[in-house]
Amino acid sequence: MEPLMAVVIGVIYSAAIYMMLRRSIVKLVIGLMLLSNGANLLIFTSAGLTRGAPPLIPEGLSAPLGDVADPLPQALVLTAIVIAFGVLSFAVVLIRRAYEIVRADDLDKMKDTDT
């Protein structure tokens, strides 16, 4: 499954970067969404994929039965998902403010400090 996931991650990255290279600010936000998702998937996949063995310990035992999926990357990705959401909402509101004030949706027109 990993090779297929590698291809999926590659496609998501390509799409994210293509969108981030656009001059329209809304496309930049979409690119940002795609990129954070791609990055989460990359961390998750890099650690290896395991089917049907979540890192849970059955009631009454002190260790899981048999091998389970690696819990550490999952913890990292969990953090990353939440942070990505925080960053995204900040970026979206920031861009909305910038647009309200500057009235330009073209990043190239936002490069100077004078509005």
């Binding site: 970067i17 969404m33 998902i81 920031l94 309200e100």
Partner: protein, 775 residues
């Protein structure tokens, strides 16, 4: 020893305080430090002359084998004596020259710091410490040359000196590092015994080139000689010090210090003789072009430095003796001459020799000092300069390589130097008196003591050269690496060297008689000098500015996507190259995919692609959402239920947020040309391919055991939780989670603040703005 030098730096910082206490006498008070050092050095002299080498150990950075060890042998003794003795006179002289100057305190801070850097430089045994002192002299001399900071010329000259010497300092650093590798030590002492191994080393030649790059820039050898005459912008006491005993001698010092370890090879002899002789000739030649007394003296310093380099290059026993004698003679007469020049400038208000005349009657002491020192510069009997010049001719006549070349240039330089000496000594003091900006009279005693003592020493050592046999001999021993008894004498009998001296005396006086006409001829060569090495310096300065502004325009142009493209290209280029060159990608893997997994994968890929091509904004956001839910499914399928839940929630929130804000945002604009799109597509695809390859490489590679096993084993016993991921988040890595909460809180505050600040308030202040076209 270390204490004295480092204490000097401390004293330098107290200079302003001393000024408050002693006023204009602070210079004299501070002169006690170099004076005391000189006395101490004189007490050590018998031991050093007896062949002893004193080492003062002091650890500095023991872990890196860097010490602050000081070494006192013949060579460093000679240099340290010159620095401290002339330093005393310069400090006393400056208190007269700059009397009443508002920035005296600043002057003393820098001058004493410079003095101590120079002392550290000639005493350091460790190459790292040596280099630190070397750079300190560059920095402090920059501050000294630019002392009159309100004068744009002084600032320019100071910067030029700094650029040239600091640029050379980089080369020197490379040379010292290579030496450290070659000899496996940082100590000059320990390099001594390894001469043959060093000379045979593969790195010898590149190291030598770097070393010469450092030494030649510092010691103003051709083609780097231009900074030194420009450094005349400094106050005259500084010039006297820089030229006689310090700064420019640092390059000569490092060559002499390394001579026993590195000298004698074909490349050493050829390069040093060649550049030394050319510098000597050019210095003497250019000296005659100038009428400013300081410029004239500055070029004669260039001449002297060239001579010293050439003698080190020739490297025979005679040449090394001549080297040390010339060094001593030059320090004495050049210090005196600059101080005389300062008195003339101070008392007459002009620096132009051709405007002076008949001052001998008004300032007799100055005139005598000038005469004695200039005779020494010209190499006339019975001054110490004559002894040195005889030795120089003697060794040039016996040079083994490039002999005819160095002989001719030496003779020509001696002739012109004599003419220059005659100009300095005779022009201002004889002939008819002229109108001057100030009414001249004899300088104050504080300004006379230096030239009198230094010129007196020139005469004393000339009449009784046996007095310095021991000092010169000890220095020659250090430069040569083996003991060599020296006995200097004024009269060598009638030999070829004497004949050459007489010839140069006669022709030199002839040139002096016809100096005005000679200058006229030289004036015709001016266009040639306009293309000299200094033009190269200005050109390279211009180019640095142009290249940096071009580079800034290219790389820092304010377009976000350009930064992104640059970063990505570097990423793809470097990582791709490493992957390609270091790894054989094993693309043979079992494609173990189940049907529903393939469907989810397809869903994610098409979501990403559709988000890019959809025109309506809502559709694009929906497509990203689809992909996000696909990712949530993937998490669930591959044993990460917590991730799946979180992703599902966050994705839902994201989509809701986007839809809420979306209609306040502009529509997708079509801003790029077709070509730009293709370019971006290529970059995006390349990055995507790279990421795919990286994931394929990384999966299942473990370079060290994972900490996960510990977490799995201890989750229940230590953390009392059955969901290991949760235990990691709130227990094992709780601080991370705390940080995450801070980030979220900050983002929330930011969002809140931005939403609270309404655009209407902004609009109210800018009423002329149009309403948005998109609701």
């Amino acid at each position: 020893m270390q204490l004295a030098v480092l204490g000097g730096f401390v004293l330098a910082t107290f200079a302003p305080l001393l000024h408050r206490w002693f006023g204009d006498r602070a210079g004299q008070v501070m002169a006690l430090l170099p004076g005391g050092l000189a006395l101490w050095l004189l007490f050590q002299m018998p031991a050093i002359l007896g062949g002893e080498v004193m080492v003062f150990e002091q650890a500095w950075v023991p872990g890196l084998d860097i010490t602050l060890t000081f070494l006192l042998d013949g060579l460093s003794l000679l240099f340290a004596l010159l620095i401290s003795v002339i330093g005393v006179f310069v400090l006393v002289y400056a208190s007269g020259y700059l009397e009443g100057h508002p920035d005296m305190a600043r002057f003393h801070v820098v001058l004493v710091a410079f003095m101590m850097s120079m002392l550290g430089l000639v005493l350091a045994d460790n190459m790292v410490a040596f280099f630190v002192f070397w750079e300190l002299t560059s920095v402090t001399s920059y501050l000294l040359i630019g002392f009159n900071h309100t004068d744009p010329d002084a600032r320019k000259s100071a910067l030029q000196g700094l650029f040239v010497t600091a640029g050379g300092g980089l080369a020197l650093m490379a040379a010292l590092v290579m030496l450290g590798i070659m000899g496996d030590t940082w100590s000059f002492q320990e390099l001594l015994g390894q001469g043959d191994a060093l000379r045979g080393h593969d790195l010898y030649f590149p190291m030598l080139l770097c070393l010469l790059g450092g030494a030649f820039t510092k010691s103003a050898q051709f083609p780097f000689h231009f900074w030194l005459p420009n450094a005349m912008a400094a106050p005259t006491p500084v010039s006297a010090y820089l030229h006689s005993a310090t700064m420019v001698k640092a390059g000569i010092y490092v060559l002499a210090r390394l001579h026993p370890s590195l000298g004698g090879t074909e490349s050493w002899v050829t390069l040093l003789s060649l550049f030394g002789a050319v510098t000597m000739f050019i210095g003497a030649f250019l000296a005659l072009r100038h009428t400013g007394i300081k410029s004239l003296l500055a070029y004669s310093t260039v001449m002297a430095l060239g001579t010293l380099t050439m003698l080190l290059g020739i490297g025979t026993d005679e040449a090394l003796t001549a080297f040390v004698a010339f060094l001593l003679a030059h320090s004495l007469y050049k210090g005196a001459l600059f101080m005389v020049a300062g008195i003339l400038d101070h008392e007459t208000g002009t620096k132009d020799i051709s405007a002076m005349g008949g001052l001998g009657r008004l300032m007799p002491v100055t005139a005598v000092c000038a005469g004695v020192a200039a005779l020494s510069l010209g190499g006339v009997l019975p001054l110490f300069g004559f002894v040195a010049k005889e030795l120089m001719f003697e060794s040039v006549l016996h040079a083994e390589r490039l002999s005819l070349f160095v002989q001719l240039l030496s003779l020509a330089a001696a002739i012109m130097t004599l003419a220059a000496a005659a100009i300095v000594a005779l022009r201002p003091f004889f002939g008819k008196q002229r109108d001057l900006p100030k009414t001249p009279h004899e300088g104050p005693p504080s300004m006379l003591v230096g030239p009198v003592v230094l010129a007196g020493l020139s005469l004393l050592f000339g009449l009784a050269p046996g007095l310095v046999n021991g000092l010169v001999g000890a220095a020659v021993t250090s430069v040569r690496g083996e003991a060599l008894p020296v006995s200097l004498s004024l009269w060598h009998g009638v030999n070829l060297a004497l004949v050459l001296s007489l010839v140069s005396l006669a022709v030199g006086l002839l040139i002096f008689r016809h100096w005005e006409r000679w200058r006229g001829w030289l004036g015709k060569l001016d266009p040639l000098f306009a293309r000299g090495p200094e033009a190269g310096y200005f050109w390279s300065m211009d180019m640095i500015v142009k290249v940096s502004s071009w580079q800034t325009r290219m790389l820092q142009n304010g377009y976000m996507r350009n930064y992104l493209v640059m970063t990505l290209l570097v990423l793809v280029g470097l990582t791709g190259y490493t992957l390609w060159s270091r790894h054989v990608l094993s693309l043979s893997f079992a494609l173990d995919v189940r049907f529903h997994e393939a469907v989810v994968a397809g869903l994610m890929m098409s979501g990403a692609v559709v988000a890019c091509v959809m025109r309506p904004r809502l559709a694009a956001v929906a497509a990203v959402g689809t992909m996000g839910f696909g990712i949530a499914l993937t998490f669930v399928m591959f044993s990460a239920p917590d991730l799946g839940i979180t992703q599902l929630l966050v994705e839902t929130l994201t989509v809701i947020l986007m839809i809420l804000v979306l209609f306040r945002l502009p529509r997708f604009a079509n801003l790029s040309t077709h070509l730009e799109r293709v370019r971006d597509l290529v970059i995006a695809t390349a990055t995507g391919v790279l990421v795919t390859l990286l994931v394929l490489e990384v999966v299942d590679h473990r370079f060290f055991p994972s900490i996960s096993d510990y977490m799995i084993a201890n989750s229940q016993p230590e953390g009392h939780g059955h969901n290991i991921v949760n235990v990691i988040l709130v227990d094992f890595r709780a601080l991370d989670t705390l940080g995450e909460m801070f980030v979220l809180a900050l983002a929330a505050i930011g969002v809140f603040a931005m939403l609270r600040f309404h655009a209407d308030e902004y609009e109210a202040r800018q009423p002329e703005r149009e309403e948005p076209s998109d609701g």
